[in-house]
Symmetry: C2
């Protein structure tokens, strides 16, 4: 379902070029659950942003469900981002003036879902935030904000989930609950799931670990769970 | 150096009261290194903000170096925040238009330090960001932003460091380097250090763990390292 070939991303800063991705290639099958690991600055978020159609590569190809993403129109890309993919951002990207409930309803507005309020409430309950639905981000703890971002990514029933360090601000017990949820959705609904993480406990629950070093794939191995 | 007695923080939201802190009391001695742990939403950041003089309690007393913080003038509080305390925010709180170097220089502007550029460069080098000094936050990875926040908290040579989940976005190796740094500064300069964390590896390197449950201290124990 995901095929990347020689993906390159270079940032140009005056006289200096930053080679964030230096030629990344791999295939991911429908329904796989994969961890992406690597040092801070190794290119994980850059890669995830390309896979989420939030950014375009400098070079290389990205095929999503057989379609070359680089050839798609802006409308087609927007539809993919809103309907096909659920994205959990490393810095949450919540809107400061909206309550948790309104944030989670947003993807369903695009889909013109009439049951969106109820579905947003359910998504927040599933991540343990039933008592925080009307809080704005500044009225939520860091881990609660992270869970709003997770609920928002899942509420539209996407076929692929891209999660950038989804448990970084969560205590161990809450992180386990979130991983239980992601694994369950992957098993029951065959949602293709890519999780950037630096936590061994999280990686242990996936089937495969892609390890990045300095913008390149250094290892790509099955886990004990595969 | 830190004494809190029956610290209470209640947020009023229309008809509902959120009891973020329900009567917290403890003493922390000069030069101690302490971990604060607890579930997401248990009140850790709220407590740290009170200790950092960034917010005022609803009730209770906070004595810093023997002074009752609630009685201090705004100028005295600002001086404490800028000179005495180094604060690492859970969401980094970086300024979007400033480079890493400018962010880390900020506390030294207040101190009118003429060597501030050099000291800011050193602080960034110590956290591994010598090649990212001129990048703005949007041009930095999540873990690099977190390290800028850490460098900024340390550059002014504070007598107390309050760090809210300082390794949440860091891979294990980089997190170890940061903990090495915090432990070294604590041992060499006797900087009183409070670290909110959900990671057992981080807590294992402190002398004492205060565990919070629903806004109250549930446990307060020495570690094997004490
Ligand atoms: N301004 C506010 N208004 C209302 N409730 C708030 C506000 N700020 C925080 N809260 C609530 O107070 C509780 C404690 O928040 P706090 O940020 O201290 O938790 P925390 O222990 O740091 O959690 P985390 O580990 O997720 O960062 C949370 O349940 C949160 O929803
Ligand atoms: N807009 C940009 N301009 C210049 N350099 C950038 C930009 N965005 C990212 N970088 C650099 O590209 C590299 C890869 O960044 P990326 O965010 O993908 O890392 P990461 O693996 O997600 O790291 P972390 O684990 O810290 O989140 C970093 O060294 C970063 O400084
Ligand atoms: Mg990242
Ligand atoms: Mg917090």
């Amino acid at each position: 379902v995901v095929r990347v070939q020689d993906l390159v991303k270079t940032y140009h800063m005056g006289l200096i070029d930053v080679h964030a991705l230096r030629g990344v290639s791999f295939d991911i099958g429908k329904g796989e659950i994969v961890a992406i690991m690597g040092h801070s600055g190794s290119g994980k978020s850059t890669l995830l942003n390309l896979l989420g159609c939030l950014d375009a590569p400098t070079a290389g190809s990205y095929f999503l469900d057989g379609e070359l993403v680089g050839d798609l129109s802006d409308d087609a890309l927007a539809a993919i981002r809103n309907r096909k993919i659920g994205f959990v951002f490393q810095s949450f990207n919540l809107l400061a003036r909206m309550s948790a409930l309104e944030q989670v309803e947003m993807p369903l507005l695009y889909a013109r879902d009439r049951q969106r309020r109820q579905r947003a409430e359910e998504a927040l309950a599933v991540v343990g935030l039933e008592d925080r639905m009307h809080h704005k981000p500044s009225e939520l703890s860091g881990g609660q904000q992270q869970r709003v971002a997770i609920a928002r990514a899942l509420v539209g029933n996407p076929s692929m989930v891209l999660a950038d360090e989804p448990t970084g601000n969560l205590d161990t017990a809450t992180a386990n609950e979130i991983m239980e949820l992601l694994v369950l959705l992957n098993e029951e609904r065959r949602i293709t799931t890519l999780i950037v993480t630096h936590e061994a406990d999280v990686a242990a629950r996936t089937q495969r670990v892609i390890r990045m070093v300095d913008g390149a794939v250094a290892a790509d191995d099955l886990t004990a769970r595969a």
